[in-house]
């Protein structure tokens, strides 16, 4: 009866270790501080299974098979994959979260560039976005499956939230410190650009994804142009309003 007992014992330990609500709140942590060490985003058992499952994705796709093989590789029984309540989506989510958190260590910006001048925020955003896209490279031929699963109604909100966190992470790592309305427009436009480029990349057959890079550059250029136009427009409106008020004041109106 040992074999009958061990799954339940495993189930117990796994359940205790897999504290999903805690995982959920850690991901939406609002107040960040360098003073406190951030706990790992996934419990050890879960991350062991999912890490090895990811290595099976290139050949088996984002399927229950990959999860099962991953669990086997990590030394757990096949049945333990049932403890991931969202199944394959948990695998995708694991990839998204770990790659987002990995950006901090994979992309390092020198304090001064080659020509002794600092890299601008725009260039940093481009580098970080490319680095994140490149992290999909090993799975890119399977990524459309992942996109389809992410777009399912029950997972769409989680996926969008993760996209927003990625955009936030990129702007934060790029050293952007604006805390006004542009905080929202920046993150929204980067999210749109990133998801569009991600879809483009799944169909990119060019060498070293050079076309994806061009696609990203032109989208970033569009936003830059648009932002410049809106900036000029609001500057003009501001100037006109001030002039109007000053004309009224010069006429002796008490405004």
């Amino acid at each position: 009866m040992a074999s009958a007992r061990s799954p339940s014992a495993l189930l117990g330990t796994f359940r205790a270790a897999s504290h999903r609500p805690a995982t959920a709140w850690r991901q939406r942590c609002s107040y960040h501080s360098q003073e406190y060490t951030q706990p790992p985003p996934f419990p050890p058992a879960e991350s062991a299974i999912l890490t090895s499952a990811l290595s099976h994705v290139p050949s088996y796709g984002f399927t229950a098979d990959a999860l099962r093989l991953g669990a086997r590789d990590a030394g757990y029984m096949d049945v333990s994959t049932n403890l991931l309540p969202r199944g394959v989506f948990d695998l995708i989510n694991y990839h998204l979260v770990t790659q987002r958190l990995a950006l901090k260590s994979t992309v390092q910006f020198p304090s001064t560039g080659d020509q002794g001048k600092k890299l601008g925020t725009g260039a940093k955003v481009r580098t970080l976005t490319l680095a994140r896209l490149r992290a999909n490279e090993p799975l890119i031929h399977r990524w459309q499956e992942a996109l389809a699963i992410m777009a399912q109604p029950s997972y769409a909100s989680t996926s969008l939230a993760e996209l927003a966190r990625l955009a936030d992470e990129i702007w934060y790592l790029a050293g952007d410190e604006s805390v006004d309305s542009s905080w929202y427009t920046k993150r929204a436009s980067l999210s749109a650009i990133y998801s569009a480029t991600e879809v483009f990349m799944t169909q990119d057959k060019s060498k070293n994804f050079i076309e994806t890079e061009q696609f990203l550059d032109s989208r970033l250029g569009d936003v830059m142009k648009m932002g410049g136009f809106i900036g000029a427009l609001s500057e003009w409106a501001d100037y006109t309003a001030h002039s109007a008020v000053n004309v009224l004041r010069s006429k002796g109106m008490r405004v």
């Binding site: 709140w25 107040y31 501080s33 003073e35 406190y36 060490t37 929202y184």
Partner: protein
Amino acid sequence: MPSALLPARSLARAAVRSAQHPVSECIAPCRMARPRRRFHSTPANPVQSSPTKRSVAAAIPQDHAEHSDITTPHNTAAGTPVQPLSQEQHDFLDSALRVNQAGELAAVLIYAAQTPPLLRAHPHLKGLMKHMHDQEVGHFRYFNSILAKHRIRPTAMYPVWHAAATVLGWGTAVIGKEAAMACTEAVETEIGTHYNEQVRVLLDWADKLEARGETLGEELTVLIEELRRIRDEELEHLDHAVENDSKEAKPYELLTNVIRGGCRTAIWISEKV
């Protein structure tokens, strides 16, 4: 007053109590079904206790040591452990600091909009207006840097507050000096109360942690000091407004109550979005 004070105290205490068991919270947060609480308390209770005695915390309790692989309270230079904040504390800091930034934005814009019409009629107020405006700009910069540092999102109503504050400042200044000062009085009363509540909650956390031989950590200790300084400067503006005949504004009750109600609504909205 103590009876009115009680619920706020117990709320803050409850938050700290939950922070005392961060380990169990990590293991089974779903089992400790806690409703999301807001740290609201009654106004008009200035904080008197001093935070300076916090530095003498000595003994380090090791009751969480066996779980140190889950939550690692790392040590400061002084050797006192800094406990990670609970989710409620995160939420509180998140919304409180967001409100502070929105409030300082509004304050800067109110003074900026009041200044031209007011100085036209009363040029002798130039020094005072400049002094108050500059202090508000300093506060605004401070909270901007805090928001960027701790990755707190600014309020989504930013453009709305921008417009509302400009209209409020300009409108009251056009009515007259007394109305402008009544506006300042009403706004600074609300803001001062709001800062007082925050300082009280943070000091309560600090006291609870200190009782267990731990500290809030460098950042929050500095934050408390800054909040107290800023609150004192806001209350100084309140005094200036009263000195400059704010009480003689024509529909005084109506004006101040409408503005104070507006401030409270704006604070409530900014906490949420």
